[in-house]
């Protein structure tokens, strides 16, 4: 078992609306990422994936507030830390974050090298321009980006190139955890592949120690990460290895999600896509029982009444359902 890079215990964060209602977008989520491992987070729009990413950084701004739980990065608890302190000592060094539209983060009036200088100066004020340039060039070349990119303005680069440039800059200090929130969703398939290859390279070369990858595209997650966690309505509902989560999901929602995968392989045309009816619950007033009960095929009166906790199954996996693993498998078999 490798060294634990990021550990989150029962993290809860909320949004406060302008009518003073609390919305718990991340509700008692626990996870662990070890050195050299990557974790994928899947779920439909609005299930709290991106809020979880923001919460993990410990960088809270209204309307997002920290409520309870621990975030431990590299044996250092950062939960409840002052945002300014987080920016100075955590971001970039310990945790790096790539949002979906990262390519829009580049100021069009600055050359790429200026961003690199900014990042390094913020943490090492004594570094000289020449050192920074040499280091940046070397880094960019390892990652397959031509060194000329450093002297260009962001508008001169294509979308995929911009995205890769942003990734290269954000990991230049060698963060312990990289959080990538839909880094390739806005790109076409060829650029997407380049971004994925770059993330793999970063892991293989040890430039980042671990990664959290967020997307709603399951085939992509399956190919990129070691473990997959499925979220629904702010809660974690399934946590397993990528192989198990895709081919043998336990939670009915995870199963529905896996049934909607589209890949160009023979055999796809034969089966019908599984669509999950209904919409997720409104988190202003979450249901008291299982949050998936309204849309679940196997719902029982008990599901609606009692809230369900994560339970453990064989092979170190976890899921959130009142049925035991054996019962679930029986039900799926009879479909």
């Amino acid at each position: 078992m490798g060294k634990v890079m990021l550990e989150v215990r029962e993290l809860t964060t909320k949004y406060i609306t302008r009518f003073n209602e609390d919305i718990y977008a991340v509700d008692h989520v626990s996870l662990k990422v070890e050195e050299g491992k990557s974790l994928g987070i899947a779920g439909e729009s609005g299930c709290g994936k991106s809020t979880l990413a923001l919460s993990l950084m410990g960088y809270y701004f209204p309307p997002l507030y920290y409520t309870s739980g621990d975030i431990i990065i590299n044996e250092r608890n950062i939960s409840g830390m002052d945002p300014d302190e987080v920016r100075k000592s955590i971001l970039g060094k310990e945790i790096a974050y790539i949002p979906q539209a990262a390519m829009n983060a580049l100021n069009p009036t600055q050359k790429v090298i200026n961003f690199v200088e900014d990042v390094i100066h913020a943490h090492e004020p004594t570094a000289t321009k020449k050192d920074i340039y040499d280091m940046a060039r070397q880094r960019f070349e390892i990652l397959g980006l031509p060194a000329e990119v450093l002297q260009k303005y962001s508008v001169e680069l294509s979308g995929g190139m911009k995205q890769r440039t942003v990734i290269a800059i954000s990991v230049i200090l060698g963060p312990k955890v990289l959080i990538a929130d839909e880094p390739s969703s806005a790109l076409d398939v060829t650029s997407q592949k380049m971004v994925i290859k770059m993330l793999r390279d970063l892991m293989d070369r040890g430039m980042i120690k671990s990664m959290i990858f967020i997307t709603h595209e399951l085939p992509l997650l399956y190919n990129v990460t070691d473990d997959i966690m499925v979220m629904y309505a702010g809660q974690m509902v399934e946590h397993a290895t990528a192989e198990q989560a895709v081919f043998d999901p336990l939670h009915p929602y995870a199963r529905g999600l896996m049934g909607s995968i589209i890949v160009p392989e023979s055999g796809l045309r034969g089966h019908k896509l599984a669509a999950i009816p209904g919409v997720p619950p409104n988190l202003k007033k979450p249901p008291s029982g299982c949050r998936f009960a309204e849309r679940c095929k196997y719902v029982t009166p008990t599901c609606r009444a009692v809230s369900v906790n994560m339970r453990e199954a064989a092979n170190d996996r976890e899921y959130r359902c009142i049925f035991a693993e054996q019962e679930l498998r029986e039900m799926y078999k009879n479909e």
């Binding site: 439909e44 729009s45 076409d188 398939v189 060829t190 997407q192 592949k193 380049m194 994925i196 290859k197 793999r200 709603h216 595209e217 399951l218 085939p219 992509l220 399956y222 190919n223 895709v246 081919f247 529905g256 999600l257 049934g259 909607s260 995968i261 589209i262 890949v263 160009p264 392989e265 023979s266 055999g267 796809l268 045309r269 896509l273 599984a274 669509a275 999950i276 009816p277 919409v279």
Partner: protein, 270 residues
Amino acid sequence: MNDERKLCLSGKGLTKVFGLGRQKTVAVDHVDFAFHEGEIISIVGESGSGKTTLAKMLLGLIGETEGEVYFQGVKRDIGSQKKKQNYWKQIQAIFQDPFSSYNIFHKIDEVLLDCIRMRGGGKLPHAKKVEMMTEACSFVNLKFEELTNKYPFELSGGQQQRLMIARIFLLKPKILLADEPTSMIDACSRATILDFLMQLRDEIGMTLIFITHDIGLAYYVSDTVYIMEKGKFVESGSADEVILNPQQPYTRRLLNDVPKIHEEWDLSTV
């Protein structure tokens, strides 16, 4: 190709050139195609391959530089506004971004009533119109009672896209052109949207044209696939033929770039 089926939409040497002289860009370059009635067709290509330009020409939103479009075997004539409107009764579209497809000042009732009027139902009694709208909404699993007097922007992306399909249900066009209908929607709603489109095809027997960069989606939905590269069709044929046994290097590359789950994804080829 089976010639017994009735020809619905076809084109010969269709070309679109933007700009002049040195600025000239050939977006669509002499493409030939023949779409049959009730067929599901996918046009697949990367960004910038000319898919959307071709779609706009098929819809008559932009004029062609060269070549002809034939509708049901007859040369298409959309010279006047009136003729255009008549053409649009036959061909309709669903676009990529549902959030910008609606007029934000029009309520949902207005959106649907417009469709009834276009089909010549403007003089029907109000109760009948409501009945038609309710039927259309329930077809896509929306409740008209909950939608009436609301604006489209109050709905989620998936719901807006479904409302678009409800519109098509009322209009009953001969051809539906769907330009990346699911690319802005997450994977779970995608299955629902595709399901409704398929049902609609069976219900009113229309021709469906998908424009997409997702080769997996193209394989799942379509009978015939056209692969487009730099304004030209490089490969076409039945979905099984093209996807499972691609002949062109471009098609192979596209297939290679998509992550798969039963086969190894080769990352070394970028």
